[in-house]
Symmetry: C3
């Protein structure tokens, strides 16, 4: 299960780093809610998540930076109904066009994951709460 | 075993980041020794470990920073008597009240872990050596 | 398999950080190719890889820095013929003699791994492509 969870986050975050906003949003359930401590309102549903990912990519481009997510420190708990509660940390790095890198953000994350069947088989995020350090 | 070890470090380090000094110290055996390259003397036993964690939290607060540990690069070896020797790297991040993040410390760690029975069932650290880069 | 792959990278990168250029090169097949986005030509074969690792260690020493690699975000795919394709991210940290740490490089990595038999039993890299952000 550890491998399944770690692989899920690796693929999910890579889509974000590669600017694949729709592919990233597709790793959430249709009715997913994503609360971010830096935003007044949660993102609800696929369209809002896609838009949120596009805005993040645009912010990186406007800053002239490549953003890169590293997620780890997984604490995985099985919950009734086949759910998983995952706590994790994510570090966001930023690199400018001259190759200078820095730590952009330090985040802690609490997710509820479900196992989907059918064409989108595998893990999906149903609920995410992101707390950005210093915000 | 990889999942067990990685989950142990995730929960242990999260206690430190959340300021739970006693909870962090409880992840060591009663007679544990923790050697840190930046300290002249090792920390020996539960009370000293609790005090060490409190001092680390106080140092972060005094600097106006949230500290966050990310441990990874696990190299796990089974040893006779059910012991595990784990080598790992830990990066400590620091974020100030304005949300500016940086790398605080880069550490390499060599631990001897034991499997405890009873109420504190699971892995515990019996011996830890932390080398802080540049110190 | 996740544990095997993660342990392989932990040991491989630790050799680089400890200045063991030959030990690092020995984690590649004899005919391995390593393409790095910051170099005009790929490194081909054991001697070139050893030389490349020595040059990296020398560059760190010349800068008065300890370099440290953290690899994670593993996305592992089994390929025909017992091969593994692994995508991963590597962050390189640098710490100077006064203990000040920073992010040196952010890299994405795509590897083809093979399983070796005999004295060098275990995983070996046959093909590596490293893209350094901002380069």
């Amino acid at each position: 299960m550890y491998a399944e969870v770690a692989g899920f986050y690796a693929r999910q975050m890579r889509r974000l780093d590669e600017g694949d906003a729709e592919g990233w949003a597709a790793t959430f359930t249709d009715d997913a809610v994503c609360r971010i401590s830096t935003r007044p309102e949660p993102l609800r549903g696929r369209a809002a998540l896609t838009e949120g990912a596009r805005a993040a990519t645009a912010a990186g481009a406007a800053a002239g930076e490549q953003r890169r997510h590293m997620t780890g420190m997984f604490d995985i708990e099985e919950r009734p109904g086949g759910l998983l509660r995952v706590r994790a940390n994510t570090i966001v790095y930023a690199t400018d066009a001259r190759g200078r890198s820095r730590v952009h953000q330090v985040c802690t994350c609490t997710d509820i994951l479900v196992r989907a069947a059918g064409p989108r088989r595998g893990l999906l995020v149903r609920d995410r709460r992101i707390d950005v350090d210093g915000a």
